[in-house]
């Protein structure tokens, strides 16, 4: 029996998600963008684990495990793309990624 109220946990998850979302919307450095996505994924994990704890369901923890694996894969591919982009443009700002706009 945990004494942490469920809505406090969910509010914390929403706060973290919004911090990550603001980062994705406002920052122009693609490395910071990727880090903000990691924060958002962690907020989702926290929410999943909160529900898993409240329902006594291990399935939520397994799902969080999968999310961690997907986040690792996403970081690896995303950083490889950052490297390729830096080699091409000598820059890491997403403002310079406008090939399809021209």
């Amino acid at each position: 029996m945990t004494s942490i109220p469920l809505h406090h946990l969910l509010t914390l998850g929403a706060l973290l998600f919004c911090i990550g979302f603001i980062g994705v919307l406002t920052r122009r450095n693609i490395l910071i963008l990727l880090m903000s996505i990691e924060v958002m994924l962690n907020a989702v994990n926290l929410t999943l684990l909160a529900f898993a704890r409240y329902n006594g369901a291990t399935e939520g923890q397994v799902l969080a495990f999968f999310i961690i694996a997907v986040a690792a894969a996403e970081a690896a591919v995303g950083l490889a793309m950052v490297l390729a982009m830096f080699r091409l443009k000598q820059d890491v700002h997403i403002d310079t990624m406008n090939l399809l706009k021209r």
Binding site: E38, I68, A71, D91
Partner: protein, 222 residues
């Protein structure tokens, strides 16, 4: 207020503060400081996971996120060797203000709705029989290899594809077709070496003949 609650507010506040420090100046100015504050945030989150009885996930959070993903991030940040002007961000714009207002609205909505919906939520008592191993490696691992076996295998395929894709994407050149001259292959190098060897062999043979010739010349001279 119980110990659990006090720990929750400390860890949660730390996670939010570290995540916000990732984006806001002065730490948010340089990517490496952002990465370090994100690592701190991940440690706070690992503590929260452990507080929610997800011990395995808390350990994985530190091993995978703080240990693997963030090391990759810091490696790439140092590898790129960004010039100082590239780390500068523009000042506050209308878009940022709009994003902040929208985010505050969403958070307010979520807090009120979730507060109403989960007012009487009671957590399962983990002391009762059947929940002794909740969140342990044994229980999560058992579920991974039984009811979640197919997703588990698919995740392993995904990780393999991601590793191969990362290697391909991070290669020096993505287009071999445009390259005017292919690099010398292993076969060419081997062939050149062989050619050099036979040449030196004939030279050597010539050298052995040379004294004979010299002797012959000397004999004819006499």
């Amino acid at each position: 207020m119980t110990t659990e609650q006090i720990l929750f507010y400390i860890l949660g506040g730390g996670a939010v503060a570290a995540s916000a420090a990732m984006l806001l100046p002065p730490l948010g100015k340089s990517p490496i400081h952002s990465a370090i504050s994100l690592i701190v945030s991940f440690f706070f989150l690992a503590g929260l996971y452990a507080l929610l009885s997800a011990h395995l996930l808390g350990a994985l959070q530190i091993i995978v996120y703080a240990g693997a993903v963030m090391v990759l991030f810091t490696f790439v940040i140092m590898l790129l060797n960004l010039r100082p002007d590239e780390t500068q961000e523009p000042r506050i714009t209308a878009g940022k203000v709009l994003a902040g207002v929208l985010a505050a609205f969403v958070v307010g909505k979520v807090v009120t709705v979730v507060g109403l919906a989960s007012a009487g939520a009671k957590a399962v008592d983990l002391a009762q029989p059947g929940y002794e191993n909740f969140g342990s490696t044994k229980e999560v691992g058992y579920m991974l290899y039984t009811s979640f076996l197919v997703p588990f295998e698919l995740i392993s395929v995904l990780l393999l594809v991601a590793a191969v894709g990362a290697v391909i994407l991070a290669k020096k050149s993505l287009h071999y077709v445009d390259r005017p001259e292919p690099p010398p292959s292993v076969f060419d190098q081997e062939h050149a070496h062989e050619h050099m060897h036979t040449q030196s062999g004939t030279d050597h043979a010539g050298d052995t003949h040379a004294p004979h010739d010299a002797n012959a010349h000397a004999a004819s001279h006499h």
